[in-house]
Symmetry: C2
């Protein structure tokens, strides 16, 4: 038994909901990519992506998942045996590490407790100990633990050294302020199914001048992910290999919407939905996964003792139409992760909190209906403009 009609609320930290306008744009007839018509689309997204990445450099578009772009960051800037420092505070930090090992890099792990952010002092100490470290690899937003790492502070450390800062911004770019050029990030990666309000299938990557210089010397092999070739092509408003044409139509549409809303408004919205969700969760007596350094992309909550998180997640999906993510590894069955990024509005957050209260009550948790949503409403209402009273 489920709500009928079962309206679906996709509140996972990617894929996120895609606006109907974008879906319909994606459904436009495929045209050939080696045409002035398509090159015009690429020229448009090329400039708009720079604004979203806050860089004057090129942002390259790959037909791949975000993982492909992470790998592109590594293989384009490093050589076998290069020492790198990987911040490992969750599943995606772990992915940086596995990738770096796959390519024969000399990997130093900086382990971070799940739910906590890395301490920049630990990075400084590691780089002081090993100044030959060629790169620091970190997540801006570690999606698996709903934590925000202090990228700005880390960049202050790497900027003055011969060490690249490689940032997985998959759930950070277009969610919160990560000004690539101003902070001095060397490699910044994102993916279409996050803030970009698109289905998965595209990934984005931008390199700083010194990362491009490193690309000239990097010895790791790459072909499909060779960014020098992609850059040469981008400068002619095309791509090295056949691009995911229809997704790029959608990208043009979605970037238009993003820039019309404006980055400051998007950042404020994600921050507000994060605060509303946290307030709502606390009001229902739930414990937060990332108490101190929360990501505005996604909030993690521990499910109450005695409740099976996997079953709760399925109940939310199948009976109420609300899709949130579960926990991974040590968080499996214990955590729900609720997204704020992309095409997510204030009412989606209220829907989710209401659904969570009702679902918990069905799992035998003593819930006073309305407390979670009310706490969230309070925060959302603060952002409302005053009404004209006459």
């Amino acid at each position: 038994m489920a709500f009928r009609p079962l309206k679906n609320y996709l509140l996972a930290p990617g894929p996120t909901a895609v606006p109907a306008e974008v879906l319909l744009r994606i459904a436009a007839p495929t045209i050939h990519h080696r045409t002035p018509q398509f090159e015009q689309v690429v020229a448009g997204v090329r400039e708009q992506l720079k604004e979203v990445f806050q860089t004057s450099g090129d942002v390259l578009v790959l037909a791949s998942s975000g993982t492909g772009a992470m790998e592109a960051g590594i293989v384009n800037t490093l050589s076998p045996g290069d020492p790198v420092l990987c911040v490992n505070g969750g599943k995606f930090g772990e992915r940086w590490m596995k990738m770096a090992r796959t390519y024969g890099l000399d990997v130093e792990e900086l382990p971070v407790e799940w739910g906590r952010a890395v301490d920049p002092a630990a990075i400084r100490a590691a780089l002081d100990r090993k100044p030959s470290t060629r790169a620091v690899l970190v997540q801006a937003s570690e999606t698996s633990t709903t934590v925000m790492h202090p990228v700005r502070e880390i960049a202050e450390i790497t900027r003055g050294r011969d060490t690249l800062l490689m940032v997985d911004g998959i759930t950070a770019v277009g969610v919160t302020d990560v000004p690539m050029d101003r902070w001095g990030i060397d490699v910044l990666v994102s993916g279409s199914q996050k803030a970009f309000m698109l289905p998965p299938g595209l990934a984005f990557i931008a390199l700083s001048d010194r990362a491009w210089a490193a690309a000239e010397k990097a010895k790791l092999p790459r072909f499909y992910l060779d960014l020098r070739r992609e850059r040469t092509n981008l400068h002619q408003n095309t791509t090295a290999y056949t691009p995911a044409i229809n997704l790029i139509y959608g990208l043009a549409q979605a970037l238009g919407s993003m820039l019309e809303e404006g980055l400051p408004s998007i950042f404020a919205r994600c921050d507000r939905l994060m605060r509303a969700t946290r307030a709502g969760a606390l009001a229902m007596g739930l414990r937060l996964v990332a108490p101190d350094a929360p990501s505005p992309a996604v909030t993690g909550v521990f499910v109450p003792e005695g409740v099976d998180g996997g079953k709760l997640q399925k109940y939310l999906r199948n009976t109420l139409g609300v899709e949130v993510a579960g926990g991974q590894d040590q968080f499996k069955g214990r955590v729900l992760r609720i997204a704020h990024l992309g095409y997510t509005g204030d009412f989606d957050t209220l829907v989710m909190l209401s659904a969570l209260e009702m679902a918990l009550s069905r799992f035998g948790v003593d819930v006073e209906f309305g407390r979670g949503p009310a706490a969230a409403q309070k925060i959302i209402a603060e952002a409302l403009p005053a009404a004209a009273k006459s």
Copy 2:
């Protein structure tokens, strides 16, 4: 000035036209990929892809262009220094070679004149000379020269040796009979924007048992393109990394249409459109690029002396709405390539031949209207069922 309404006929050898039903399916709301709902979609395409690839083994779906899948073939089965034999008879043969060199393989080139197919005897001789050759890399259909290489005969040579046969079937799978298991192909690759009637963004790759065995020993580094990880996930009806969800919806729809039409009917249609196009081109006095071993995916014709092929192609696109491909490298400005694969019907071929006649006349070529289409009609009509006369 252009025809109004300018109806567009996409007759390039990829991207090819996408049926409206597939476009609309792609526009369905994005759902989360780690759900039983999406796993069911994957389970469906998983079985259907085996039928199209004519293999009992797994066909893996990557979020990448076809080039990504070609690279996956190399990095999953080979190790640095491995001797490989690359058949280089066009742009895509050249790509195999560049890729193999990028990864430090010991590359032997088997050059083939553009427009000609490789002679299997030359492959046999090369392998006899160097029995340690680990793989032969070849195109089934070399899209740039519109040639079909004799994969069946090549497989007869590699099958009995310790040499893998790696086939770029990007414009061959679902176009013509390339029965992977029956012929003994070890790696077979294709892409969504070809016979699969989808926009670009997905690539497919299947490995034989001995290629999977090679994958266990292969030392080339790979992460995003690691097929062992993809296979483990596919066996749970999912993918290692976030899949291109909406394109996979479209894939389910398109595979359904393909299997409903049936492979024999599709192969017969592509063959018929090739024969019709060739007959039409010859009737207009054009010379064929691949006189002896034509690909049923695409026909290449030389433009008449004195006509600029690039301008002719643009005229066809902008004035008449007919998109064909031009020539590359030595064929640039001299060749048009006209596709038969995917969602291409008999009348599309007639439209294209009519358009070509009219365009040529505007470029000052002495054309007798109707000769090209008439020659094609004759071939198409032979395939028509008899009419009930009473």
